[in-house]
Symmetry: D2
Subunit: 102 residues, 4 copies
């Protein structure tokens, strides 16, 4: 089990691209993905081969919404000594610190 | 006002690097930064010149903790037609969608 | 036709990870991929669905070489108004500038 | 000595953004930076504090050219057991492989 962070950046579609990000969220929900939206991307959990297959399935979404150019950033964090689920890494770091954050 | 996502990846320090991420969180708290930890990075808000100055101040932290090599990923999202604060972009996207997410 | 930049970062395998990057290069050559190594990643050209399939095929390489955790960064630049090949974007930028670079 | 890869993505400025990338190249040349343009970004070498200062100096360039929103991606690879210069990492990987690449 790994985490994948997906960020899409449509170019030439105006300064606000929230409709494109929403399009991806809806597709992920349709695919029953386990995901979490942050201000800088969408974190999805799963086996990497399944995640790559999922990316392939949702990839055309911003182009179907009209974008002519999209930069897609994907970061995969995959460790084999333990399972990683959404929320685990933040919990583990917070156990180590005492600070308040927004 | 912009958002900056910071991710540090220490190499050669073992498979678990949570202590290094916690080190960064403590430094950010010491600097009174406005930040939010996600599973894939730390999102910090501020003016870009201040954020770059802040990165400079906390940059040595993982090396002081013993790392010999660190890959640092920084993504800055800066728009001039409106202020961006932590939480704004997720709220804006969620208004556009109706799906449930984890 | 799009460009995909792939960067792999094995954690806990020592400070030098060139053997892992070389492992990926050999796999890409075996798969007859069109690719170009830079200091910060490997740029591969192709149709996006083919590129995602290729990533799936080579993905296990660093784990087979012994890594227990790998962070994989993928950036896809895909435009539909024209084909993008390796070398096109640098040529286009250099036409616009006159500067000397290393 | 570290390497920094800089990629700028102006949103809402049309599908072609080569003029913005050229603007950054010219600024880097004016600053006497040691840099190398690839299809997916610009690789700059230097001490990290100098590199962050340099990013601060060139950061406004795309906004001055008219962009209202820019996503900036920065990757820093910094190792303390040896100096890294532009070209070193590709040479080191190529020594380990025998394959032909474009």
């Amino acid at each position: 089990m790994a985490l994948l962070q997906l960020t899409i950046i449509p170019l030439g579609e105006g300064v606000s691209v929230g409709d494109y990000v929403a399009g991806i969220q809806e597709k992920l929900a349709d695919e029953n993905a386990v995901f979490h939206l942050t201000d800088m991307g969408t974190i999805i959990e799963g086996e990497v081969q399944d995640l790559l297959h999922l990316i392939g399935k949702i990839y055309e979404t911003p182009f179907k919404q009209g974008a002519l150019r999209v930069v897609t950033n994907i970061v995969i964090d995959d460790r084999r000594d333990q399972q990683i689920h959404i929320g685990d890494k933040t919990k583990s770091v917070k156990r180590r610190t005492k600070m308040v954050q927004k």
